[in-house]
Amino acid sequence: MLSASHRLHTDALSAGANLAAYGKCNNPHGHGHNYVIEVVAGGDVDADTGMVINLADLDEVVKREVLDRFDHANLNLDPLFASQVPTTENLCQAVFGVLKRALPTGDLEYVRVEETENNFFQYYGR
């Protein structure tokens, strides 16, 4: 889980259009969520270890690449969101991107990001 703040706002739209598009998520002071991240790795079970992926290694990568970067941070200030709005769609794709680069090729299946208990997003990298 990571707790982060964000504000949905784009300079491409006027103040009125931002408010119309994002509603209370456009609050200039931002707001936050407890995001629940699910990282799904897929592959064949290794004949020697009996594992698809070593969970300790996966934990380490997720902590280093995702939690250390985004937990208790303001998403709008991350370079990944310098030119795109930190919607959960874009956060989900960003998390997938940083994990894909850090994990062995082919291991990452999909990333799910739950913004609240009532909505979540899944990205499969295609």
């Binding site: 930190p86 769609e89 990205y123």
Partner: protein, 141 residues
């Protein structure tokens, strides 16, 4: 392509009964679900929409819009209703309101609205009857 899922809950009553069968057969097949006075569940509906995030807003569809669509198309018709009596798809024994058929009915109610939205498409409807049981429909056969 990214998938966005919105959850909503509704509470409704129903019973299972096939008019073509005897009472004994209905009770044999449906068990306690065949009791004609009905019973109820707290259903959880998950609606999954697939598409590309809009380059300007970053949204596949606006979650508030999707919430309103779910409320107007499904919850408004199903919530706190007797499915066998008050919901057209199931009334007058047209269709047995199993979780499977509820998922299909919800899909049919949602798909036209979602298809009109911003290049998005309805990807999946999942209906939980209890936390242990759900039915899922992805359209088609």
């Amino acid at each position: 392509m990214i998938e966005l899922t919105r959850r909503a809950t509704f509470s409704a009553s129903h019973y299972y009964w096939n008019d073509a069968w005897s009472q004994e057969k209905n009770e044999q097949v449906f068990g306690r679900c065949a009791r004609r006075n009905g019973h109820g569940h707290n259903y959880t509906l998950e609606v999954t929409v697939a598409g590309e995030p809009d380059p300007v807003t970053g949204f596949v569809v606006d979650l508030k819009w999707l919430k309103d669509v779910i409320e107007s198309k499904v919850l408004g018709a199903f919530d706190h209703r007797h499915l066998n009596v008050e919901v057209p798809e199931f009334a007058e024994s047209r269709l047995i309101p199993t979780t499977e058929n509820i998922a299909i009915a919800a899909w049919k109610r949602l798909e036209p609205a979602v298809t009109q939205a911003n290049g998005a498409r309805l990807s999946r409807v999942r209906v939980y009857e209890t936390p242990e049981i759900f039915a899922e429909y992805r359209g088609g056969a």
